[in-house]
């Protein structure tokens, strides 16, 4: 029996894959997955389809909860890691429990980003990151006809598609910050806008929010520079930021995400970061990169687990199409389908 005690923080695509890979490779290892969310791992990239009613909830799940038990992976749901002690090799949970590890994979994922300038309006905006969020979208969509989309991340275009299929009126705000953290030139922005327009979306170019208020139980009003828009839902799609605040002061190097080397090592022996919370310098794009997308997350999850077990697997470079269009590094697939 190995004395290894592996802890995986997060049960998204990367965390789930990491835990399963660890168990496959070392069947008698003690593997614990700690997730703040309840329930089994699901595929977040399918949430827009779930919102559109194209797939049932059951199709979102990667595997039933029982399968963790069958594979002898301890799944602790509804528990939040609040700090990491590298010296003691332990994590603290918000209910004051300390969990020790010999190897750690942090797959805490990302959380919806709300620009600080819009912080005060955050209660009026809906994000779409979790299954709970998706259920709220479905419920609200059943009572409204129009949606104002703000931001321009991966999910926003998929949700816009879903809304059009549901015959909803869609307003879409596009500006140079739309593809945050990447900046967009005017031509790229106009092309994205044009494609949305052709599909029947009302595009609001280069507008800034002056105020936002709920005017009735069914509608919010957004005052922009130049005009105002009333919509049943205001969707906030400003990208994800790695959910790593709990690691502040732990000794790991934190920038937007956890800075890792090409093997996903976080700078401490036996501690790896993977998925949407890992930040890596990418020589091909000559810049730092935080992975996005389901497939990347699964690949990174597997890579981190293999490296924790002593292998030396380098992170695969993401496809070029994710980064380059007319010299601007954005994921063209977000809007090319329009």
């Amino acid at each position: 029996m190995t004395e290894e005690r592996f802890v995986v923080v997060g049960n998204g695509p990367a965390g789930h894959q990491a835990a399963m890979t660890l168990k496959e490779r070392v069947p008698d290892a003690d593997v614990t997955v700690i997730s703040r969310h309840r329930g089994s791992a699901y595929r977040p990239h399918l949430l827009p389809d779930f919102v559109a009613g194209k797939i049932p909830e059951a199709d979102l799940y990667v595997c039933p909860t029982d399968s963790y038990k069958e594979k002898d992976v301890r799944l602790r749901t509804g528990q939040k890691v609040v700090s990491l002690d590298l010296k003691e090799r332990s994590v603290a949970l918000d209910h004051k429990e300390i969990v020790r590890f010999t190897g750690l994979i942090i797959a805490a994922g990302g959380k919806p980003r709300i620009p600080e300038t819009l912080f005060i309006f955050r209660e009026l905006m809906l994000t779409l990151k979790t299954l709970e969020d998706a259920k709220l979208w479905r419920e609200k969509l059943s009572r409204c006809d129009s949606v104002l989309m703000m931001g321009g991340d991966l999910t926003s275009f998929a949700v816009t598609n879903a809304l059009l299929q549901l015959n909803k009126k869609v307003y879409f705000m596009l500006d140079k910050e739309a593809f945050w953290p990447l900046r967009c030139d005017k031509a790229t922005l106009e092309e994205a806008g044009h494609r949305l327009f052709r599909r029947g979306v009302e595009v609001l170019m280069e507008r800034r929010v002056k105020s936002m208020a709920r005017v009735s139980s069914r509608e919010c009003e957004v005052q922009l520079n130049g005009d105002r828009v009333r919509a049943g839902i205001i969707g906030a799609f400003f990208g994800l930021v790695p959910d790593v605040r709990f690691l502040v002061g732990s000794g790991l190097r934190i920038d937007r995400g956890i800075l890792v080397d090409e093997y996903l090592n976080a700078g401490s022996a036996g501690v790896f970061a993977t998925g949407d919370c890992a930040q890596i310098y990418h020589p091909e794009i000559r810049d730092y990169w935080v992975s996005i997308g389901h497939d990347n997350a699964v690949n990174l999850g597997r890579t981190s687990a293999l490296n924790l077990l002593g292998e030396c697997v380098k992170v695969e470079a993401a496809r070029e199409s994710i980064f380059e269009v007319q010299g601007i590094r954005i994921n063209t697939s977000w809007w090319m389908e329009f």
Partner: protein, 581 residues
């Protein structure tokens, strides 16, 4: 029955305070934080303010701009306990809610007939001048600029520090008796040698007024502004034209002040460029959040290589950096990633990469920078009667560090000139009742500082104070969160019946079964050898370095063998200084 009060100057007790009241130990001015928080909880705003002022002379100022080393050490911020108490803003609440400034008390010291010149009226100079004047020295403070305050007035924008607050506290300091002479630049208008002839001692506390350049090509192009000069022009209502796109290069408070000022001057696209990460910033989290709310981007892991432009600045070429380990000076090392060059366009570039002192010719031995070299403990230079303190001695530091250093320098000067100590630190011990803290208070969320919203309202004028202050209700709520670490809990082993009820209710491993108590050379407790074997247990002890003063152990103790003592690191007039010939 009167409570027993004792004072101790035993090193063992100082050691205890250092370990067990971490907030006060972290404060460079040794502010009695638990006491002023408790006073505010009891709605004694004036008392709370005065407890502060005894140590740090500028509570209203520091309640707004302190770097808050105390909060980093607050026990409430330990891993499983939540977030630190909002100590700084409780301090501000006391300043906001006080009824008025107290009248200066009659000094217990008589005039000494000795004169001290203080060069510079920043926090270090003001603190030293105040302490020296209140113990009987004839003090003159020389200020090169038009008004007193140094960096507080000329380096910190009004939207963070209203001048009415600064003026009120400087006026209060000057009522201590120091004479202020503004518009006198020592080294130019008056020589140090001259002052040394006219005064018994001279303290150079002239601050850091020279911006450090990046040292990259193109830095002299029009449109590149040294950060400190930019801030001084803003604070003097003579800001330069900066255009729409502004890059601020730097990571300290000055960089943030420059960026936020640039937005107020009309720039639409402002970014702060960091060599390291946001995580490595030493500015407070509140400052970072408010800066972002104002639409300023914080860009990390980038090193400027050259400023671009033909007749004026057009942009900056950067290269990505890779962060390494934290070096002994507390800064993280970085390495440039070659081949990662990129350019950001800009109409103006503000370089806030640090400041250093401008040398004043003093006739003393000089250090490598051409400044009068001084010992950092004694503040003495090679010239008898010449001392150096504050940022002029150490390079840029924080306001609270400067205040603390100014006070220590004053004590040293007083000793050197008279051969006597005037103030001494002592640990005050007083029997206390069980705290009335409720266990539920441990779970109260931290009360954050409210700020002007919507953000556009902040930009109406350059001097709209952004942080609006805690209401009395919210300040009191926050004060409940303090664990009151100045309460010392102790089990009387002779009366303990080893029932272990206290251990059962302890919220963390703060009560221990021990077989041995470890002490250091001064007799202070440094640790415990715990045991799980009952036959080895020699005592049940409370580890005050882990205790969160919830009081649960006292409440369940069936034999009342747990006592509480209120222990405070205080300052009192030294006996020798009180007795004059």
């Amino acid at each position: 029955m009167a409570k027993t009060i004792k004072y101790s100057t035993d090193p063992e007790d100082f050691y205890y305070m250092g370990v067990n009241v971490p907030c006060q130990a972290a404060c460079p001015a040794s502010t009695n934080i638990p006491a002023y928080i408790r006073a505010l909880y009891e709605e004694g705003y004036d008392l709370s303010y005065e407890i502060n002022r005894l140590a740090n002379i500028l509570p209203g100022v520091l309640g707004r701009i302190c770097s808050r080393p105390c909060e980093d050490r607050c026990r409430h911020g330990e891993a499983e306990l939540g977030h630190p108490v909002n100590i700084c803003h409780i301090k501000r609440a006391a300043a906001d809610l006080k009824q008025g400034l107290s009248r200066p008390e009659a000094s217990p010291w008589t005039p000494l007939g000795k004169k001290v010149a203080v060069v510079g009226s920043g926090p270090a100079g003001l603190a030293a001048g105040y302490d020296l004047s209140t113990i009987g020295f004839d003090v003159t403070i020389f200020e090169a600029l038009d008004e007193a305050g140094g960096m507080l007035r000329y380096g910190i924008p009004e939207f963070r520090l209203p001048r009415s607050v600064l003026n009120e506290e400087i006026d209060r300091i000057l009522t201590g008796g120091a004479d202020l002479r503004t518009g006198v630049r020592v080294g130019k208008d008056a020589a140090v040698e001259e002052l040394l002839r006219d005064f018994d001692a001279v303290l150079l506390a002239a601050g850091c007024y020279k911006s450090i350049p990046l040292g990259v090509p193109g830095e002299s192009l029009p449109g590149v502004h040294p950060g400190l000069e930019f801030m001084m022009s803003v604070c003097s209502n003579r800001p330069p034209a900066i255009g729409d796109r502004v890059l601020v290069i730097g990571a300290g408070f000055t960089a943030f002040d420059c960026a936020r000022s640039a937005v107020r001057l009309g720039a639409g696209d402002v970014a702060i460029c960091l060599r390291r990460t946001e995580e490595d910033l030493r500015v407070t989290k509140d400052e970072v959040l408010e800066t972002k709310k104002e639409g300023i981007n914080i860009l990390s892991l980038m090193l400027s290589r050259r400023v671009l432009g033909s007749t004026r600045v057009e942009g900056v070429e950067f290269v990505r950096t890779s962060p390494g380990e934290v070096s002994p000076d507390g800064k993280r090392t970085i390495a440039a990633i070659e081949g990662s060059e990129f350019v950001l366009p800009a109409d103006s570039v503000i370089v806030a990469a640090g400041q250093r002192p401008e040398p004043i010719e003093a006739g003393a031995l000089k250090d490598a920078q051409g400044l009068a070299a001084a010992d950092r403990d004694s503040f003495r230079t090679s010239l008898k009667g010449l001392y150096v303190a504050g940022d002029y001695l150490t390079g840029p530091s924080t306001v609270i560090e400067s205040v603390g250093m100014g006070r220590r320098a004053a004590e040293r000067i007083a000793r050197d000139l008279t051969g006597k100590a005037f103030r001494e630190k002592a640990v005050r011990m007083e029997e206390a009742e069980i705290t009335d803290r409720k266990r539920t208070w441990d779970y109260l969320p931290r009360e954050e500082m409210p700020a002007v919203q919507p953000v556009q309202e902040r930009f109406r004028r350059l001097n709209v104070e952004v942080e609006t202050g805690l209401t009395p209700e919210r300040a009191k709520e926050e004060s409940k969160r303090c664990y009151l670490c100045y309460l010392h809990y102790e089990i009387d082993v002779s009366r303990c019946i080893y029932c272990r009820y206290c251990i059962d209710v302890a919220p963390r491993d703060c009560i221990k079964l021990v077989k041995e108590v470890l002490t250091n050379e001064v007799g202070a407790v440094t640790g415990f050898v715990e045991t799980t074997r009952w036959r080895e247990v020699n005592a049940v002890v409370i580890d005050n370095s882990r205790c969160i003063r919830c009081g649960e152990c006292m409440r369940v103790c069936p034999v009342n063998c747990i006592s509480v003592t209120r222990v405070e690191l205080t300052e009192r007039p030294a006996e020798e200084g009180l007795s004059h010939d």
